[in-house]
Amino acid sequence: MERLDSITFEITNCIGIITMDLPPENYLPVPGFIPLKHFEKWIATENLKGLIFRGAGKHFSAGGNLGKIFEAGKDPQSIHRLVGEGIELLNFIQCLEIPVIAAINRVCFGGGLEIALACHMRIASENALLAFPEVNQNLMPGMGGTIRLPGVIGLPDTIKMLLGGDMLNAMEGQKLGLIDYIAPKDQAFEFSVNLMQKMTHDRPLKVINSIMKSLRNSRIMSRAEAMAEETRLFCSLAIDEAERRKSEKPA
């Protein structure tokens, strides 16, 4: 296990686990809570097939440390840099070519929910609570939440969530499409590991990367480009598999 300030990284069965370790609420000290350089190094671990974010103890994360934000707010340059690091980190997470799951037990507010939105799947325990309460402090989500959320739950519910600042429970989150699966009480992490193993166990990394890449292409490329790229990825996998089968056959 590696530790960097309040974040730990460990690997079990080719699955990376990132724990925000500032219990009880796991308030994040800064938006860029893992320096990108270190994060890139962790991700480059050989044969890493999936990634799970979780909070230490009972909660996922209650969000950012607003004191730090308000202090940095005294200097425009410093607040821009601080928030920019967070945005860069979350964009990097979203673009990863391995599946990334947010394992959400109990509280997931503000910056915590921003992290969860950058993940590819969100699994919440039945006692989880979700909210963007920034509006109550005369703020708004600043790490892409306002951009990612409409793509997940649609515009009307996004407006309601961002302006209302209301809390949702796991069931309500699932109804909106914000939560993909509900796990038993406090079991989001165990549920996530189980699902991640089903998705990555026995799968060569190249297959995982190709599928994730193709999915991402379908969101960001024109249809024709994404199609051409999918064919290229498919054929490359098929050629590998044909070779593998040939070499396996007894002479």
Partner: protein, 216 residues
């Protein structure tokens, strides 16, 4: 044609995948599919197209062994184009799914505008279990219909699932007993306009498909 049967009855085109029992999608099939699509787009006064399988199954998808012996980027692009042309048709395209509907066959169904599914149907994109991936747009279509998270899970796990699960994910439009699948598809096709608004599929589901089903 050997692998597909194409007929028109009362203005409704019927494309039957015709290599029973499992209606495997061989290289020959994809070649003939391209021809049929040419014929369909050239047929005048066609009101709708229904795609289904001969016998108990829709189709088990591509012949993996054959496919791996003949990996050819050009052919893949050609197959993709053929399926895309089905999706781009102005007339409504309905897949009537019974039995197994896996891999490329599920992709063909996903390229249809509507999917009517039998209760005991088995669906999925099992390609990753063969160390390959869905290659004809299935990932994009699942993501559009059921969301990215579902697309990731379905394609990486490669597990098969039941009609009811497909319905709750939005991957099929209605689930009925297997005997009713084809009649419902034909009745639905007869009610649909000749040119549908693909961006607003739900209108047709509420206006025609669900009331039709409620009557039976």
């Amino acid at each position: 044609m050997r692998t597909i049967q194409w007929t028109v009855e009362e203005g409704i085109g019927r494309l039957m995948l015709n290599q029973p029992p499992s209606n495997t999608m061989t290289i020959d099939f994809f070649g003939e599919m391209k021809e049929v699509v040419n014929v369909i787009t050239g047929t005048r006064n066609l009101k709708a197209l229904i795609i289904y399988g001969n016998g108990r199954h829709y189709s088990s998808g591509a012949d993996i062994e054959e496919l791996l012996r003949n990996v050819d980027q050009k052919i893949m692009i050609e197959n993709y184009r053929t399926f895309s042309r089905i999706e781009q048709m102005d007339i409504p395209v309905i897949s009537a799914i019974r039995g197994v509907c896996l891999g490329s066959a599920f992709e063909l169904a996903l390229f249809s505008h509507f999917r009517i599914c039998a209760e005991d149907a088995v669906l999925g994109l099992p390609e990753s279990g063969f160390n390959i991936m869905p290659g004809i747009g299935g990932i994009r279509r699942v993501a559009n219909l059921a969301g990215s998270a579902a697309a990731i899970e379905i394609t990486l796990r490669g597990n098969t699932f039941r009609a009811q699960d497909a319905l709750s994910m939005g991957l099929v439009d209605i689930v009925v007993p297997k005997k009713e699948v084809l009649p419902l598809a034909l009745n639905f096709a007869a009610l649909l306009p000749v040119k549908i608004d693909k961006e607003n599929r739900n209108i047709y589901l509420h206006k025609f498909l669900k009331p039709l089903h409620a009557k039976t």
